[in-house]
Amino acid sequence: MPEIPQSESKGTIRVVHLYPREMSIYGDLGNTRCLEKRIQRHGYTAEVVGHNPGEPFPEDGHLFVGGGGQDSGQVRVEDDLERNADIIRSLASDGTPMLMICGMYQLFGNAFITVEGNRLPGLGILDVTTQGNAKRMIGPVVLETVVGKVVGYENHSGSTTLGHGQEPFGTVLHGFGNNGTDRTEGARTGNVFGSYLHGPILPANPGLADLLIGLAATRATGRPFEPEPLTDGVADEARGRQVRRLLGIAS
């Protein structure tokens, strides 16, 4: 990858990592690191802030990311999400880019139904409902998406169903995806993306990272995204190898 351009910054993009302490497992922090580095490499200034339960919500963020967590972590953030639900919903409907992985993806849905049948309401930004399961869906994943093939690793016990007309994030070529049966993975509404993919998802799939950064750059500067040409040879090779290996294509 090229060095960070020395020329004048094209603008400041504020990335908000929601609940970095409670909801950042299995390397999800790597998504935040990836965004920060790529924003800089595209010639913008990156400002990364963490939002913790109880703190004032950073409404001025241009890009929001959230990860997976232990069940206990999820419980810790539910109150805070509920308190800020209206702000987050209006940011989402206003076109703010968001990437929510695993546990946070579930919390952005309509509800999580526990194994015991209790219904825990979510933000309802994505029209999905998750049913707690005894069986975990674990393993490497390959998807077909709007940014091409995407690789990652899933590890979830919740089984998610899309509401009528809800667009998925991708189609499963290898792995379980939302529920292991309908070949959908994740969900997308406007600029809000939900997915089960760890890996973490962004470093090996820079097309998705740049899609989010582009949307955030426009929000931050009011101008169209002005990307630098980045060489992603290593990421492309890492992803290509996983795709060929998992889909059984001879390399």
Binding site: M1, R21, Y26, G69, G73, P140, A204, V234, A238
Partner: protein, 437 residues
């Protein structure tokens, strides 16, 4: 009794047969013995009167078990252990069979058994341990346990099973919080870091988010031991209200090894009581050789090549801070087979910034490109990427022939690279050692 003898004979026969077929520390002989006598383990340990100690936790089991065995033997005890690291009950039986008399009753004073978290509980259902040493809970082998909260629950249940004493890591909230389930009459002792190096805690511990309030360590109480390092392999164990132990000099470098030694020593003091001697302990620890892959050094054409096993974020971070302090030519080999952990996401929970100055000469293994990508995001230069392990090793060695080298690898990458190195250089034989460090 007759049944046990029959089980010993059947087990020994199975062991001989599996050795002929070239099997190492397989669980098969144990399975055979257990078939013939379902209460085999209980019988085998019936004459072990001074204690059955279970060592468990995510990181450091193998090293700590070795150290504890050495400490007890140095105090004149006959110790039964599972040195091949077959850390599940059938594996324990298999490893015992070689030395077991036909009576099926082991002739030992104390048993020290390394067991992983799930198998420690299974073992405790058959034989109640007198003592349990709980080292830590870290993210690892996610395919098996899925969540660290779950692992913590396993350890907590084990802590409740010990009949005489439990030794807990006071710095690890997942471990220390299990004191609440320990029944009255069972002694609880703690080991941990001295205040002088408490700042290193964040890099080796997971954050416990199960509770809203910050973790506050309990009173350390009697018999605790705290690690105070002098340098990378020399340290003292501070004993509040008692005689400090040290200086102790280990053969193995690094904070992790010193913490393991502190845990082992605290446990040995508890088991031995008044018979414990600080001088004997320091001499015993100085003799312990590092287990396979934990800083083992291979002489490659007159230059040292250090082999370092990495398998989870806490372990890799500690390894980097131990070994990264002296920059040498570095290769990293990452596989993602079952024994390695199939998810490589954890590489993003490790900071590689300490390698930035010197760079990494080679990344290899099935996920060589993912490793190189990870390093790019920490601005660590990578000279070469070669997924095939042996060609990568050859290129690495020939490009850095006249200098010290270091090789970080995941478990299966380590197994295969060590095999290659053993065939070329003079390496001690090793059995089938455990994936658990």
């Amino acid at each position: 009794m007759l049944r046990t003898t029959a089980a010993v004979i059947a087990g020994k026969a199975a062991r001989a047969a599996s050795r002929v077929r070239g099997g190492g520390g397989s669980a098969f002989p144990g399975l055979v013995a257990e078939r013939v006598d379902p209460r085999f383990l209980e019988h085998a340990l019936a004459d072990v009167r001074e204690g059955v100690v279970v060592v468990t936790g995510t990181n450091g089991k193998t090293t700590t078990t070795r150290m504890l065995v050495a400490l007890l033997r140095a105090h004149g005890k006959r110790v039964l252990t599972n040195p091949t690291g077959s850390n599940f009950t059938r594996g324990v039986i298999s490893s015992m069979l070689k030395d077991l008399p036909l009576s099926g009753r082991a002739r030992a004073d104390i048993a020290v058994l390394e067991l992983d978290e799930a198998h420690a509980l299974k073992f405790a259902e058959v034989v109640a341990p007198s003592h349990a040493l709980l080292l830590n809970v870290a993210r690892d082998q996610l395919d098996r346990f899925a969540e660290i909260d779950h692992t913590a629950r396993l350890l907590e249940r084990l802590a409740g099973q010990a009949t005489e004493g439990v030794v807990l890591n006071i710095d690890d909230p997942y471990v220390a919080r299990s004191r609440e389930v320990i029944p009255e009459g069972v002694t609880v002792r703690y080991f941990g870091l001295d205040a002088s190096i408490a700042h290193r805690l964040p890099e080796i511990l997971e954050t416990d988010v199960r509770f809203a309030e910050e973790y506050a360590p309990p009173e350390s109480g009697d018999g605790a031991g705290f690690l105070r390092p002098r340098d990378e392999r020399e340290f003292d164990i501070v004993v509040p209200g008692g005689e400090d132990i040290g200086p102790v000099a280990l053969q193995q470098r690094g904070l992790a090894a010193m913490i393991n030694a502190t845990a082992a020593t605290t446990t040995a003091r508890m088991v031995l009581g008044d018979a414990f001697s600080p001088g004997t302990a320091a001499r015993a620890l100085a003799q312990v050789r590092p287990p396979f892959g934990r800083g083992e050094v291979v002489d490659v054409d007159g230059q040292p090549l250090e082999l370092v096993l990495v398998k989870n974020p806490a372990g890799f971070t500690v390894a980097l801070s131990t070994y990264g302090s002296e920059p040498v030519a570095t290769m990293i080999a990452i596989n993602d087979d079952y024994a390695d952990g199939r998810d490589v996401s954890w590489l993003y929970d490790v900071s590689f910034e300490s390698l930035r100055g010197r760079g990494v000469a080679m990344t290899s293994g099935i996920r060589a490109y993912d490793m190189a990508l990870r390093l790019q995001y920490d601005d660590v230069p990578v000279d070469a990427i070669e997924p095939a392990l042996v060609p990568a090793l050859d290129r690495f060695i020939s490009a850095h022939r006249d200098e010290p080298k270091r090789l970080f690898c995941t478990y299966t990458a380590m197994m295969s690279l060590r095999r290659t190195l053993a065939a070329r250089y003079d390496l001690p034989e090793f059995g089938e050692e455990a994936a658990d460090a």
